[in-house]
Structure formats: C-alpha cells, structure tokens
Point group: C2
Chain length 394, copies 2
C-alpha cells in the first residue's frame, strides 16, 4: 500500500542524533555523541530501595491508573523545592508532571501554537525540541548566540518582525548543544522584552542543577511576577532518564490546558517512577547527591577540555560551567559532516553541528562533544583519535 502522511510529519526526518545513538550501542564505539548521563551518576541503590518500599507499602497505588496532572505528593514536593531552592513559582503558577521534559515542549506547542505560528529560539538549539516544534508545522526563527546568550537587540527585531511569534524557547544554562550560559543581564532583558511584546518564554532547564564551576545564575522563571514564563524541568539528568519523569511550572491557566493535552496523549506518567522521584526529594539527601553529580561532571569536563587544549589546539571550543556538552569549531576548510563520518569509522561518535541549527543546511564548522557518557579512558583515547584525524586532514 501507498500511505499518505500528514503534512506536519512528512517533512520530518528521524533525529540524526538518535540514529547515531543507535549505532553507538556498540560498546567499541567511543560515545561523544549521546547526551546520556554518566552511568556512575545514577543513584541506583536509592532508586531500588524506594521502589521496594513503595511496592511493600502500597503496590496497588503504584500500579493503578492515576491523575493526568501527576502524582499529587510529587507536585507538592516540587512546589516547595522549586520555590525554596530557586525562587521558582508564584501563587498563579501550578506544577504538572510529564513523561520527560520533552513533553513540556510538546504540550507548549500543542496548547499555545496554531499551524504557521512562530517560535523564536537560540540558534543552534536542542534538536529534540526543534523537531517537536516542527511537528506542529511551526516557523522557527533562530537567533545567533554569543558566549553569554542571544542578543536582546536580535530578539526585539525578531519579535517586531514576527507578529505570529507565540513562544521564545531558551535553554539558559549550559545550553545544548553549545554548553553556553546566558548572563543575568540578558535573562532580565529577555524577560522584559517578552512582557513588552506579550510573547511567552519557554525556559528549558534540564542541566541547571549540574553546575560544576562559576556562580549560579537565577532562572528567568525566578523573576516571573506576571505569569509569562513556562519552566520545564526534569529528573532525567539528576536521577535517571529511563524513568521519563519531567515537570512543568507555569501559570495554572496554562497547566490546566496541558492537563487536557496529557489526557489526549498518554493519560498520565508512569506512577511508580513519580513516586520514586518524590522519595528522592523527600527521603534522601538530594543536595548531597547533586554535589556528587557535579564532582563527576566537573572531572569529566576538565579532562576533556584539557585533552582538547593539549591535542587539538587548532579547534576552538566553549568552556562550559556545567551540563554535558562542549561545542567545538573545526578549522576552516575541514568538512564537519565528512569529519564526523571519518570519526565514526575510527570508532568515535560525534555529532556534526549542522543538526542543531534551525536551518540544518547552513554552513558550520561546529561539532558537539559530550563528556558525560564516556569513561576517562574513552575521553583520553577518543580525543587522541580525533586529534590524529584532524592533523592528517587534507
């Protein structure tokens, strides 16, 4: 049979990253491509203990249908946690639990955007979110990034030129793919512009709790006194991604529409996983756990950056203060896609930067490297392989 697909889906290609990920299931491949948390970062003992406790105490409640808004106790726990720790959330806000933060992008687009509307974003940005927006037939307007984020002037022009702009999508901390962090001054400027032009901000913060150097910068949501910011958080990087638990803090008028979207999508998020997350925040030394994670990622990042500086001095790179990624610029003349292919043939998986741009056909020298997944030995060996490739590149 010949199948005719919906307009929104027929232009979308499978995520290049997930295709590369599949190839890297092979343990011989050095994984600089994925965005997986370090296996040693999973709090396995606690997860297993809490799972056992929950099943011992009340197995039915962990297996029966639950409510679409999310496990009530976890919503309450997150409400205090976000408020006390990050000053996120006001009386007009509410919290919903979702199946990973990606679903916040999905529901934000579904609830707020009609076909042909515009989302303004950093360029490059997280390919998963860009593809989610594309799946709603939305127009992406990408703004170039400086070391401390997009320029407010560019944002203002974009807001003026795109009357159908519905969302400003930002990853302010240790952005994927660049590892860059938006300065406080720019966060404030962006927030003021959002109010001036009455366009909501979608603040995606999967890595914020993984800061391993420098000083924390407040979330844009922390100064949202009017209800113009949708904040997406997740346990993927600080507990485990396979459990698929994320959350959204946004004005209740928005989250109540997201509840309807949830009912129409997957009804509710795996309830055992939500219960485990609640106990991780309430019956576990979560701050100490985060400190452990930061140690792990600080070490890995420093090792990769040192290797890059020693063996690949001609390749400029960002110096992330947290997160999982380094963004590198290959010397002019080196074809990035060809280089990534050659790297894969040499057992090192990297992602060519073009995948992350709103227009993937735009020329770029960029390459994204992940330091959280590989072991120390793989980081050392992998960078040496890339260095050799680059040195011999014709």
């Amino acid at each position: 049979m010949e199948y005719v697909f919906a307009k929104r889906i027929s232009s979308l290609q499978p995520s290049a990253i997930r295709e590369i990920l599949k190839a890297t299931a092979d343990p011989k491949i050095i994984p600089f491509a994925a965005g997986n948390p370090a296996p040693e970062a999973f709090p396995v003992e606690a997860i297993v203990r809490f799972t056992d406790e929950i099943y011992a105490e009340n197995p039915i409640s962990a297996l029966q249908y639950s409510v679409s808004e999310g496990f009530p106790a976890l919503r309450e726990t997150l409400k205090s946690y976000l408020k006390q720790t990050y000053n996120i959330g006001r009386d007009f806000d509410s919290i919903n639990i979702v199946s990973g933060a990606q679903q916040v992008m999905d529901f934000s687009a579904k609830v707020l955007c009609n076909e042909g509307d515009t989302i303004i974003c950093e360029d490059p940005s997280f390919i998963g979110s860009l593809n989610t927006f594309r799946s709603y037939d939305l127009n992406l307007v990408g703004l170039p990034m400086e070391e401390d984020g997009i320029r407010p002037e560019d944002l203002e022009s974009a807001l003026q030129n795109n009357p159908r702009a519905k969302l400003i999508y930002l990853i302010p901390n240790f952005q994927n793919p660049t590892g860059r962090t938006m300065s406080l001054a720019k966060r404030k400027a962006v927030y003021e512009l959002a109010i001036k032009y009455n366009v909501m901000i979608l603040e995606d913060n999967p890595y914020g709790e993984l800061r391993f150097s420098g000083s924390p910068v407040p979330a844009i949501k922390s100064f949202d006194e009017v209800g113009i910011v949708i904040y997406a958080g997740t346990f993927s990087k600080v507990i485990a991604p396979g459990i698929r638990v994320g959350y959204v803090c946004a004005p209740a008028a928005i989250t109540s529409k997201m509840t309807i979207a949830k009912q129409a999508s997957d009804v509710h998020t795996n309830i055992l996983a939500q219960m485990v997350c609640d106990r991780m925040l309430t019956r576990y030394d979560f701050p100490a756990h985060l400190e452990d994670l930061r140690k792990i990622y600080r070490h890995k990042a420093q090792l990769m950056l040192a290797q890059l500086d020693e063996y690949m001095p001609s390749m400029v790179h960002t110096v992330p203060e947290g997160g999982l990624f380094v963004w590198c610029q290959l010397p002019v003349g080196v074809d990035v896609v060809a280089f990534a292919k050659e790297a894969m043939l040499n057992q090192v998986a990297v992602v060519p930067g073009n995948n992350f741009f709103t227009d993937p056909s735009q020329p770029t020298q960029a390459l994204r490297l992940n330091f959280s997944t590989p072991t120390d030995e793989q980081i050392v060996k992998g960078i040496q392989i890339l260095a050799k490739l680059l040195n011999e590149w014709k």
Copy 2:
C-alpha cells in the same frame, strides 16, 4: 495575563470521566464510573519479583535513555506473541512500544491526519480517543451501533460522503462504553470496505484478552494482508495501567513515522516498565494469568448483571462477553445527567452516556456502568441504591 490558546485545544474540555474519577478518589463513593482494572487482578508478586531481578541484573540498562521504537526484546516478544496467539502481524508490519494505547491514537492522528480531515468511528465510543482526535482538529463522523457493531452500509455511506476520511476507528471487542462485540461477518465487511475506499482502520483492542464468555472473534488485523490496519494493544488491563505500556502493530512505513512522533513527544517509554512486561510474557505463565483475570471479571460481570436484572428490570442493558463495562438505557423520561448527579449524591459514581457520543448534546437514555473496579459488596449495594433512585424517580 490573558492567554490565547491554540484553536485545537481551546474547544476541548477536560475529560468528564477523569473529573468524575477524581471525585471518586473518596473511598466512600461506589466506583461504577471508572475503567480501572480490579485491584485483585494486578500480578503484584510477579511485577515486584521481575523488578527486583532487572535491578539486580543490570540496573543501568533499566535507567538509561533507550530507543524510541521501544525495548528491542519486548518488540520481538510481542511480535511472536501476537502472531502465534492471534495471527496478528505480517512481514510488512512492525511493532513499536508506546506509553499506553492512548498514544497509538495520538500518533495515528498525528501521522496520518491533517486539520479538518475526518475520522469515522462507532457512536458512542471511547471518550479518551475521541478527545485525542478532537485535539488534532479532526471531524468525527459517528456511526450508530447495533448489538453486533456498526452496519457496513452505514460505513460505506460515510466513506462515500467523507472524501477526507483518513481513519476508521473501532473497538471491536467489548467496546467502551457499550460492552458490545463486533461480529466476524461485520469485521470482514469493514475490512473489505476499508480496502475498497483506501481508508485505514485503527483497531483498538484494550479488552480483547478479557473475554469471559462466548467464543473469541478474530481481530480485524488478523486478516490484514495488505497493510491497511493499525492495531493498538496495551498491558493496562492485563498487567497494570499505572505502568503506561502499550503497543502498536502496523505497517513499518507507519510505525517508522510513529517513531518520529515519539521522538517529538516523550522520546521513549519508561524502560523498566517495558522490561517488566517482557518478562511477564516470557518468564511467567501469562496464559494462566489471563485465565485468572477472566475468572475475576466473569464473576463481577455476572454479579452486576444479576443485580440489574433483579432490581432494575426496567433498565435495558447490554450483556458483555468480556471487558469492563455494561451499557444501560434508563427508561424514557428519566434525565440521565440528573440521574447521575443524584447517584453521586447517594455515593454511587456512574457516567452519563452522552459523554461518549461524537455529539455529546444528542439526547440519550444511556448510562455506563463499570463492574471491574467495585468490590462484590459495592456492586450489590450500588445497584440497590441506583434501583431505589430509579423507583423513586419522578
């Protein structure tokens, strides 16, 4: 702030059933409204044992990111299981794992339907699926049901009159809300019409394995030799709904687009839950477990039907051969919505039938009763309360 919502979502109301469900969290309320599996039907011991095994053997694989298509072993297991048990699946088909069967309806609409396209369905039908379709701004054309399903003549007219029909949505076994089962002759006729008019069938079969009387009727998918049927299955009713694991068996050309939709939605389904389902099928006497479930539901259904016949003879009802629901017709003159409200005041939750129609404003005498959630005592007491209400109705 004033928020402007997307067209697709602004007309959608929260599911009335889920709102009633929330009210029935109160244990004093007799739950004839929900569609929850019986708590005693959960294979708790096996789920706990397999969870422990998985965490003991390889915790990282149960916590790390996984692939969007689903846990490879479970996909393979389901492929053999569906083929061997139900003759479902041909060489052109593939299986994807999703976060509950609802997500199959979501992805089918997302992948195959543009705004304004038509979905033909049974009328009444499952409100969750209808709302999913509505969330894509689709036109619903409902066909009246007879005891053995919709009439093929009606389907043919609908196919002729709706050139933008993209899907025929059916729940052939123990339909929600009616409990009715489509006859083999009608299944074959529907399949032939789908081919004749080149419109895909979306066969939703959440209850098929819960047949407690009568003879099994083959799934429409079991005679699909051309790739025109999308088959949605789930572990919600046969293992547990809180784990959110469903699956789709459809032509690979379709499932590969659904994989893209999955990447743009929730990336992948909770991996531990997928691993547990795999072991339930491969390391457990699953057929014996299904037999146990059938015993539980046979008993509950027989009890409710006997109570209805004894105490509410003026209320006509279906006689389901499986599933979770009985569909009742209150005597003419009794306002169904008012009756349901009065029942709730008397601590019995039921769902007025209008919620399940494509046009919820159409007059109906119907009421949906669920027999899987209440205990025996609740069934007896609840029907007596409803009977008293009806007898005293003015």
